[in-house]
Symmetry: C2
Subunit: 115 residues, 2 copies
DNA sequence: CCTCTATATTGACACACATCGATGTCATGG
DNA sequence: CCATGACATCGATGTGTGTCAATATAGAGG
């Protein structure tokens, strides 16, 4: 799911002030980008991403993350689901544990929104 | 208001899985970053930023932007206030009109969260 | 001073969302 | 096959937020 950047499209036609603000994101692009940003615009989810990134192996399981953020396990599971559905995390079950890894290309998408 | 990036802090101590997820953002840093991201995680506000950026003069007034997004004037005014209070826009009154400009350094702060 | 136009503020409403307890699922070990 | 531990899902609840109509403010011009 590609995410287009804030475009530097040329301004064009008319308006009450004669400036022209037709350039810019389409509604669809804006909604796509906003959906991705919403996944990341939460302090708990930022800490989860940061904690996974700070890990030696580049991955962490839910029990570790639950301890870290100090919230109930269902809450952490919910946040991890949001991040995973946004494409920012990959999930892998190994035995009883679920391991989460960053998806660097998706993080690059977030950065690309503001390039 | 500085915004710290997702740190690559070294993992340290123990956990149930023996991985160690102590590294990462503090609660305070995460809340600061999330507050900034929330201001931007909205399709209408993304379009407003994009439209202002696409302008020849680098600024636009409310009437232009209201036409663009197709929402009621108070709604647009509200979104512009959110962006301004987040430090992403600067407001200047010239006569009857209110002009809004981007604050590039603040946009860089957003980008910096994911560096 | 009065009016007109552009913008901001307020109040209300609907909807989304973060959180948690309770419960369900699934794999492991006995 | 049953018990245990890790994780996911569900249902409920309180809080946050986007939207608009109504109203207020503020500057320009007569």
């Amino acid at each position: 799911m590609p995410v287009r950047e804030l475009p530097l499209a040329p301004a064009s036609t008319t308006s009450c002030c004669g400036i022209g603000v037709d350039g810019g994101l389409t509604r669809e692009d804006a909604e796509r980008s906003a959906a991705l940003l919403k996944a990341v615009a939460d302090p708990v989810r930022l800490r989860l991403l940061s904690a996974i990134r700070a890990t030696d192996a580049g991955e962490a399981c839910v029990c570790d993350l639950t301890d870290l953020v100090g919230l109930a396990q269902p809450t952490v599971s919910h946040h991890l689901k949001v991040l995973t559905e946004a494409g920012l995390l990959e999930r892998e079950r190994r035995g009883t544990w679920a391991w989460f890894r960053l998806v660097p290309s998706r993080l690059a998408d977030v950065r690309g929104i503001f390039d």
